[in-house]
Amino acid sequence: MNFNTDYKELYNNFPSGYFCSLPNGTIVDSNKKFLNLTGYTREELIGEKKFTDFLSLGEKIYFENIYSVALKLSGTIEEINFNFIKKDGTKFPVLINSVEIKDKEGLHLFTQSSVFNISQRKKYEQELLTAKKKANDLSNELIDVNKELLSRAELILKQKLQLEEVNQHLENKNRQLTSFAHIASHDLRAPVGNLLLLKNFYKESTDLEDKAMLFSKVETVIDNLNGTLNELIETVKIQGNKDITHDPIIFDFVFDKTLVILETQILDSKAVVTSNFSEAPNIEYPKLYMESIMLNLLSNSIRYRSPNRIAEIHFCTAVNNNEIMLIAKDNGLGIDLQKHGPKLFGLNNTFHRHPDSKGVGLFMTKTQIEAVGGSITVESEVDKGSTFKIILKKNI
């Protein structure tokens, strides 16, 4: 079969619209498909209509500012989407490719444009756009939900930390209570057992002189028991004290006050007491605790001095890793830490066969220090001396 290309036929029956316009936009030719698409007759279109007649006002702005500028500058433009207005006023979406036809001198003669009806594709595109918008909305929603979740997680984490803190506090309290109960029961049982025994002796005894002697022993035990009870009550007060007020403290002042209180003991013992608080001259701390801590440490050092040498006792402050420390050093009897270490700060533990040993001071000192969030440690060697190191506070 012979295939003779009839270009006019091909042009007219071309399955997409085609038109040719002058530089001023007037349409000077079109194929049948374009007439079909727009609903105009050839007579109504050719020489009568301009490209922009098919556009809405908003699209004309796009046409003038972008479409024709880009076409002018590059000579061709592709895939521009307009909604063409048909003769009956209805619209249909098109994609347009345009090319400028110029003469040899570069003078612009015509613009040729092909027009593709994209009604079906546009619907699909709309669906895609709607779906995309929906997806975007959902995504934004998810982002919001995620933000909400993150902020809640943060809150939960915060609460968890608070709970952990509370828990830690409770555990401490619990430990204190357990230890306290243990100490209390242990320390109260011995004198009470003693009392029971004395009571039995007293009942069985017929001798008046014996009875008087037994009763005076009972008195002594009751006095001791009373002393122990008072100490226990004091420590309960310290442990139960939640909101301890912190006062501005100058170490020198508190220490001087302590020296005055213990003046007799210091004079009697001939101890040499020195101090240097220049590294940390002051601190915010509960005043009563500080007085009690210094008093206990100093009186302990005096009480447990070595009979073989002149007692030298030195108090000072130090700053280490943002912590203010109070250090009390003596050259006294020292403590066998191997033997007594674990019980050192317990109630009613004494480590010296010393006539004055009462053994409540360190327990209370430790309780006071811990109530403010500090800690106490000791380094000691028998017959060389002891050094108590107290971390008072961490917030400097």
């Binding site: 530089p23 001023n24 936009g25 922009t52 809405s56 006002l57 908003g58 699209e59 004309k60 702005i61 796009y62 046409f63 003038e64 500012n65 972008i66 024709s68 500028v69 880009a70 002018k72 500058l73 590059s74 895939e79 521009i80 989407n81 307009f82 595109e125």
Partner: protein, 265 residues
């Protein structure tokens, strides 16, 4: 500072003349739109071309939504550029929206100006009871839809280039050759600022000698609008060219240059 400004507005200089001519493109495109008239001006003038921030090859990162939510932001840029380049006695040529940017610049700093040339200006696009701008709010919404539908392919293909992705040089080359491809977000914002703005009351504040060039057929700025601009600027002259479209410097560069030269001599 100068370097930063040059990069921000993609400033280019052309010509060997002694007098300064500062050309500012309108909405939708960039300084390329002057290329048909430059050859006829460059012997007589030192020509300064810029891309408005957000258009062409300007530094997109400088596009500040607040600053450019009114045309004043662009006017400030032009004053800054003139100061940085030590320009004075300029003839500023502004097309379309940039005619209004030129107007604001000349009101802010009249001393910079010798002449102002407005090509197809419109101080207000939206009609009101006693004013014909040619458009309604609806038409501008329609423009927004058209902008959107013609950026469908843009977003995915061009985004990497715009975002400075150097891995795909072929895209950059494509962008290099394509005109009027601006970031869709910015294009939308700039369109709103341009087509919803109202500078009618500024016209009377202008003291600079002004030429208004119109096309006899312009769907964007009609003769009526050109006449309004002319009536409201004291020292102004109106020239209507026998050409079609909103860009006479593209559709009929010869006539446009002729009108400019006649006015300037």
């Amino acid at each position: 500072m100068l370097k930063k400004i040059i990069a921000r507005n993609n400033i280019t200089m052309h010509g060997t003349g002694s007098k300064s001519m500062f050309l500012v493109h309108g909405y939708g495109c960039d300084q390329n739109m002057w290329r048909f008239i430059i050859p006829q001006l460059k012997d007589e003038y030192k020509i300064i071309l810029i891309d408005l921030v957000g258009s062409g090859k300007s530094d997109e990162n400088s596009y500040d939504l607040d600053k450019y939510s009114s045309l004043d932001g662009y006017a400030d840029d032009i004053i800054e550029i003139c100061d940085a380049l030590n320009l004075e006695d300029i003839c500023l040529v502004g097309h379309s929206v940039s005619a209004m940017i030129g107007l604001l610049t000349a009101i802010k700093r009249p001393s910079l100006f010798k002449k102002l040339i407005m090509i197809c200006p419109s101080p207000r696009y939206i009609n009101s009871e006693d004013y014909f701008g040619g458009f309604s709010q609806n038409d501008i919404d329609n423009l927004m839809e058209t902008l959107d539908s013609n950026y469908l392919g843009w977003s995915s293909a061009m985004a990497p280039v715009i975002m400075g992705n150097a891995d795909r040089p072929e895209l950059a080359a494509e962008l290099e050759e394509s005109f009027c491809q601006n970031n869709p977000e910015i294009a939308r914002h700039f369109a709103k600022v341009t087509f919803l703005g109202d500078n009618r009351s500024d016209l009377k504040k202008l003291t600079t000698d002004t030429l208004i060039i119109q096309s006899n057929t312009d769907a964007i700025a009609s003769i009526k609008v050109g006449q309004f601009v002319h009536d409201n600027i004291a020292d102004s002259k109106l020239v209507v060219l026998e050409t079609t479209g909103h860009c006479p410097h593209l559709s009929d560069p010869n006539q446009t240059v002729e009108a400019m030269k006649q006015y300037l001599t």
